[in-house]
Symmetry: C2
Subunit: 517 residues, 2 copies
Amino acid sequence: MTEEHATADSTGSRQRRAKRRGPPEAGAAPAAIAGIRRQVPTYDILNEESLVAIEEAADKILAEIGLEFRDDPEALRLWREAGADVTGELVKFPRGLIRSILKTAPRSFTQHARNPARSVVIGDDSVVFAPAYGSPFVRDLQDGRRYGSIADFEKFVKLTYMIPWLHHSGGTVCEPVDVPVNKRHLDMVSAHLRYSDKALMGSVTAQERAEDSIEMMRIVFGKEFVDKNCVILGNINVNSPLVYDATMTNALRAYAAANQACVIVPFILGGAMGPVTMAGAIAQSLAETMAGCALTQLVRPGCPVIFGNFLSSTALRSGSPTFGTPEPAAGSLVIGQLARRLNLPLRCSGAFTASKIADGQAMTESAMSMLAAVQCGANFILHSAGWLEGGLTMGYEKFIQDADFCASLHRYLAGIQIDENQLAFSAFQEVGPGKHFFGCAHTVENYRTAFWESEVADNGPFEQWQEGGELDAVDRSARRIKKLLAEYQAPALDPAVDEALKDFVARKKATIADQWY
Amino acid sequence: MTEEHATADSTGSRQRRAKRRGPPEAGAAPAAIAGIRRQVPTYDILNEESLVAIEEAADKILAEIGLEFRDDPEALRLWREAGADVTGELVKFPRGLIRSILKTAPRSFTQHARNPARSVVIGDDSVVFAPAYGSPFVRDLQDGRRYGSIADFEKFVKLTYMIPWLHHSGGTVCEPVDVPVNKRHLDMVSAHLRYSDKALMGSVTAQERAEDSIEMMRIVFGKEFVDKNCVILGNINVNSPLVYDATMTNALRAYAAANQACVIVPFILGGAMGPVTMAGAIAQSLAETMAGCALTQLVRPGCPVIFGNFLSSTALRSGSPTFGTPEPAAGSLVIGQLARRLNLPLRCSGAFTASKIADGQAMTESAMSMLAAVQCGANFILHSAGWLEGGLTMGYEKFIQDADFCASLHRYLAGIQIDENQLAFSAFQEVGPGKHFFGCAHTVENYRTAFWESEVADNGPFEQWQEGGELDAVDRSARRIKKLLAEYQAPALDPAVDEALKDFVARKKATIADQWY
């Protein structure tokens, strides 16, 4: 299998080739689509003057309000040496300092997967979809909502492996709460490496867990390769507003020191962890992520880092967070413009929703949020599939519906191709007024690659749908899950590597007592 | 009540004012939002060279393939006099002819509603949402799918009147199949005029029915006013590919002669009524709509006309039409660019789906399609609410979910406002690192207008949702329908006008025998 970066040529044939392969024959690996190359421009909604106003507001927050770096003397030392004003744990940044530090960060990098055909480029016009991250609960049609387990975790890794439209295996696809908190990372990284060969994310919940995650990658890729190449991402949340806690900065320093990429993610629900007005929340997000991205460059200049973003709204009468709403969708478009002005790869969030189930609310909100993510030029889209209930639940059938939307975005981001075949003048000559195009030569030549076809949607006649039992999108998704899991076969893993990983995990587990919270 | 064109100022207060009025008190009319003024740029995905290539392809279709105008000697006479080559019913258009004729069409016009506060501007940066059009079936949660009746029709008119986010009453909101085919238009126009005071669409299914529709508007607005102002729209479908039949051109000529606006809509499912490649289908759509728009200008130079568009895809293995798919979404963005280059107001379609019910498939497809419609700069968006099953069914609960998405688009299209209050520096000064923004002065001052809040979504905690009976978006929409219809009160109608309308309808009905097909 060769590397395929999904770039539609005039017939969209490369994507189609991948699609036609699927469903894989027994034993065949699912198609490798190593991300999308976006062929439509980004949707830029703010003018230069407005962007500069936000950048100045962010710079003012950095210079006059400052950020706290809690319980991490090493981070404070790095800032002091770089020329920041450090008072206690509060760090203020002279204007220009952070932008100057950020100049060493690469605008694009490759994250290597253990199968080279699945390595992804993160940056420039590349778009990579990864599943949702971090839910304590899972939900499916049959058993409803319950705590996630390592068995659920492994199922989501397998499903992600089977779906070519998800390019990345993600990280904590659900919390395996049946595994002790301090040992989960070992089982999670193992599962990604054993049940998939896509790129993955490691643990960030403690410095040692981050280092274990990286160490396991060294077992797979070799120490020298890992020192020179990105093979794992760590998702670093800012404790917004304006605080980095030591758990996160310790993990950040572990990834950066190992030349691995942090995703720096301010976590802002407007009105709670940030101002209730979008421009202010965006300025805060910019300030927070710039500071975290810069810290990685102080740890190891030139290491890869991703400008992250997690911005949503709040129902201010009830205090409930809301997702997939219009303000953060418009906000994402602005964030994209700001990230490009810094020449940094961008992470946005995908299929957001506050709905408890994969209903119309869920899919409306998810489509709104996901379209904003791709239109703003995000390079790495976390939470592309499965997210329910504001991130509390990973939904199986939601996952399938979202992944199908991801599939459709491969076509959307290819835009409209213009050439002689696409303009189809010969078809008009052949068919003429009042006839149909079904059988004409141009249609016959092009129909296989012409239109994207959903793997979940029901587009047939009403009567057929009725006779089929009036299945809805959730029912059909549940069937698809069964089929994918039945067809799943693990990708080959070098037995020596497998053994070494098992040995590492066993040794680590033996040295620490179980912690359950 | 004063006219409100929903334009968010820095706090979005005008829209909010409408929203805060919220469920109207008994007897109070729902807020009048006379369309949205789009404050974000359009999403332009093609460059100049590509646009010119499509325009040249359209011009070549017009010049070398030509269009048939069937059974309408008057249309052929108009074309011949204008300088086209007419052979039998086939009309070919010398290059430049149509663009030259189109110069008299206005780039923007007002469609007057009988309540002036609800008159809408169609063109420029105005966006007007109208419900779905033309379904023979209706569907609701309680009674499932059945043929539409005049009672259903009236309910949809009432619901549309009650929802401020739908700015226009639409036309055939469902087919009232319990009324004879040749008398439906009288009852439909009556219902729009009696149960709503929003702008509306008239009949196009026969010349006489078009003329009756216009005559009824003369009763309401006066003959002279109607001759000088647009008070009704007629939706003229092209019999694609490349055919105008006499039913449509007769109706077109009736509307244009009366100075009323036609919406000229090529109806193209790629691979069936047009080529299977998008660029070709777009070129065809451009050719077809340009010809129809130009014909209105031959009938009455300067009359308003709308550049329409209905482009979708086909599942080519089954032949089923598909909706809300990525190719037509990208196609809409291109159509928008082309319409603006002609300086014509643009109609696109909104909440498309092939789903039979208002499930996740329906709402994913609808969001994809609707976002393309607003992002491409469409001025009049038909099918904004209710569409199911490729237009065969008008769904009650789908209508409510779609209308809620329309509500959210009011905020989305306001974009991100930048000013001192929005940038919120005072909030950072007050709150500082690590605190929350819930109670701060800036939040208190802004929270009422800060975030859009859905009228359908459930954003609360899981436990609350569970205790509430685990309602999904369809269940909640069904409840909302009951509430809206219970609160409905008809807008005042001058008793003399009411009487004259009744008299006109009675006289017309008495002169014709019932036709049922």
